[in-house]
């Protein structure tokens, strides 16, 4: 019973937050509503006994990602107002409303129709035997202690998903490199326009050996 109450409250929090993200006029408010949604989802994770995921949800998403969003919003300038009255492409908004509504309807229908899972088996059932899969609390480790979800994650992460795990590191590093490249400005005193190679789509045909010295062009910035 408690679970049902907690679920309803958390789900309502998440849904209201999600609606708030979409309808808020001020993007900063949208970001704050997003925190509410993420918190609601974190509680839902707790209900699924995924305590570690709940903590990750709060620490990474609510704590770090939304902060990143806020920096971007402040960077783009919340003080700049934009006129939403004019549609850039005629008929775009009604179309978007229709498509969005249709997708929502399809999603809800699928959830209602498919309570039994795909072909008679669902996630809570073992696909091979058709028996209910053991729940998290049932499983006992080799030493007789119950296995926590953090251990379960560790086990698959460092065995079955070892490759994906290492690739994730590469992905994060690329994110940093890309952000540095895209946000870096040339050294002080030089305006970007001065360095513009050409106003055309393609670079100028300068003989390779006649290139300007790049360090003096201030690219390194160091």
């Amino acid at each position: 019973m408690t679970e049902v109450v907690v679920f309803c409250v958390a789900a309502a929090l998440a849904l209201v937050g999600a609606l708030g993200v979409v309808v808020s006029k001020n993007p900063v408010h949208s970001a704050l509503f997003l925190i509410q949604t993420l918190m609601g989802v974190a509680v839902l994770f707790v209900l699924q006994e995924a305590h570690f995921l709940a903590a990750v949800q709060v620490v990474v998403y609510a704590g770090a990602i939304v902060i990143l969003f806020l920096f971007v919003i402040m960077l783009l300038g919340v003080d700049k107002a934009e006129d939403f009255a004019v549609e850039p492409i005629a008929g775009q908004r009604p179309l978007a409303a229709v498509v969005g509504g249709a997708l929502l309807a399809i999603g809800l229908t699928v959830m209602v129709v498919a309570v039994d899972g795909s072909t008679g088996t669902s996630a809570t059932f073992d696909p091979q035997t058709g028996q209910p899969a053991e729940t998290a609390l049932d499983s006992i480790g080799a030493d007789g202690q119950p296995i926590t979800d953090i251990e379960r994650i560790g086990r698959v992460l460092f065995s079955d998903y070892a490759l994906a795990f290492e690739i994730t590191a590469a992905l994060l590093t690329i994110a940093v490199i890309g952000a540095v490249v895209l946000t870096r400005t040339v050294s002080r005193g030089e305006r970007l326009d001065d360095l513009e190679p050409a106003s055309f789509d393609l670079p100028p045909v300068a003989p390779h050996d006649n290139q300007p010295d790049h360090d003096s062009a201030g690219e390194s910035g160091a």
Partner: protein, 502 residues
């Protein structure tokens, strides 16, 4: 996640690593790290070396791919999440060689345009790493991580000319549409996982391909996953990003996006269709059929009206994606021919499309633009480029004896072989569209050969060595695949179905 976790063995089991099978990925990862380290140590002083190190990295990655191909055995790791078979090896080789040609196209362009060089090659290598990983990925999580690894560097590379607003627009559109597609696909994947309880494609297949109607969850999951990849391969109606991104991005990156990125989307799609969804052709065949028919028709019709060469190639690429999707629309009826036809088309398409972009880059070194009108009288000042462009355009149109002809022939063969009404109608679509496409390809040919040069400016253009070698490589491949069709036919006679019951 818990249901999956509950089925795991009780204690941590150290996975068996087949170092030979993982060698291509590890080599490329090492070289990617090496390029980054060079940048960290030498900063801009090392910029002349990075393109060389990156090319060496790609060629070094070919070594384990070749030894694996010689060895010939199918290898599998991580419970089937990472598979090395003939199909994976062919696609890895395509990605590596495409990447090599793109580096050849890039060296002068990037250096002379005064763009960041070190990061450019580092990001290019990581994108290719994502692609070769995708060729082996047989698991939802690995597929998703590989997709992100190949996409995220590509978003940044598209906006590399960051002093140009058009390039910013290109990167922005590509990024927004790309993450939107990722989100849809991820939702589809979560539905599939929810419906089957596993992230392994073979397990998913076992769970969803049973007799009887599929459940609504599975249907929606399959459709969302296909839609996600349809963005990646720029199939209509999910193609809208392609022309603007292609036009704004640096041209070598446009070539990379239109060949390697598109091929990676197809590889992922084929992994899903032939391993994950096999037996559920009642769901995916109609979806793919509509995408294929729309892509080739809309792509070709819009291409007729283009005045910019890159935009024309973008729409022609949309149409080509339609041709490549066509055999997948009958994948359930004739799986082996359909797979071989699409893989074969991808191989040949890589050669001819890269070649066409190489010519665009070479011509733009003089004309500064990619307007089709500037190709008038090309023969008078660049006869070599004119011949090469004619070869590539006629190959794209599918005229014998060039590579594109054989590729299209096999597409027709596969859809007719299916012997279903849908297959035959698809065959008619392919035939009609080939005729439409011939018109705009031939129109460029006429402009190049028969019309006078604008302002009678016949000063020759200096084509650097790397660009020339790229042209020679792609032209040789395009012609060889056409006159020796057995070559690509033998190589691409692959099957993905070894691990699947069907």
């Amino acid at each position: 996640m818990l249901a999956l976790l509950a089925q795991q063995v009780p204690d941590f089991v150290r996975p068996d690593i087949d170092w030979h099978a993982a060698a291509p990925e590890l080599t490329l990862l090492t070289f990617g790290a090496l390029v980054t380290m060079m940048d960290i140590v030498w900063l801009e002083k090392g910029r002349k070396l990075t393109s060389i190190v990156a090319s060496i990295g790609l060629l070094a990655t070919m070594v384990p791919i070749i030894t694996l191909a010689v060895d010939g055995a199918d290898r599998s790791m991580f419970g089937g999440a990472f598979v090395v078979d003939d199909y994976a090896l062919i696609m890895k080789a395509v990605f590596i060689l495409t990447g090599y040609v793109v580096i050849l196209l890039s060296t002068n362009y990037i250096a002379e345009g005064d763009y960041w060089e070190n990061e450019y090659y580092g990001l290019l290598l990581s994108s290719i790493l994502g692609m070769i990983l995708m060729a082996s990925a047989r698991d939802l999580i690995t597929i998703f991580v590989a997709l992100e690894l190949l996409s995220i560097p590509a978003y940044m590379l598209a906006t590399w000319r960051k002093r140009d607003l058009k390039s910013n627009e290109a990167g922005m559109k590509y990024y927004l549409m790309g993450v939107f597609a990722s989100a849809i696909m991820l939702y589809g994947m979560s539905l599939l996982y929810g419906g089957s309880g596993s992230t392994l494609l073979t397990d998913i297949n076992e769970s969803i391909s049973g007799p009887g109607d599929p459940s609504a969850v599975v249907v929606l999951g399959i459709i969302f996953v296909i839609v996600g990849f349809a963005f990646k391969v720029s199939a209509v109606p999910f193609h809208t990003w392609a022309p603007d991104t292609y036009e704004g991005a640096p041209t070598p990156i446009t070539a990379f996006l239109s060949v390697a990125s598109k091929a990676a989307g197809f590889v992922a799609l084929m992994n899903m269709l032939f391993v994950g969804f096999f037996g559920r052709d009642d769901v995916y065949e109609p979806v793919i059929w509509i995408l294929a028919a729309l892509s080739m028709t809309v792509g070709n019709l819009i291409a007729l009206r283009q005045t910019n060469m890159v935009r024309l190639l973008a729409y022609s690429g949309v149409a080509q994606a339609g041709y490549m999707l066509a055999p997948l629309a009958v994948a359930g009826d004739v799986p082996d021919s359909a797979l071989a036809a699409t893989v074969g088309y991808l191989v040949i398409y890589a050669a001819m499309n890269l070649g066409a972009f190489a010519v665009v880059i070479a011509v733009a070194r003089k004309t500064r633009t990619a307007e089709i009108d500037d190709y008038r009288g090309l023969f008078h000042w660049a006869p070599g480029l004119t011949v090469a462009m004619t070869v590539f355009l006629f190959a794209l149109a599918g005229i014998p004896p060039l590579g594109g002809w054989w590729a299209k022939f096999r597409i027709m063969g596969a859809v007719i072989e299916a012997n279903t009404a849908a297959g035959v109608v698809m065959g008619i679509f392919v035939a009609v569209n080939s005729v439409i496409a011939l018109y705009y390809y031939a129109r460029i040919g006429v402009k190049m050969w028969a019309e006078p040069a604008p302002d009678d400016d016949t000063a020759p253009v200096r084509v650097p060595v790397s660009l020339t070698s790229a042209l020679v490589l792609t032209a040789a491949a395009t012609i060889a695949f056409g006159v020796l069709p057995g070559l690509v036919g033998e190589v691409t006679k692959v099957s993905l179905l070894a691990g699947v019951g069907g």
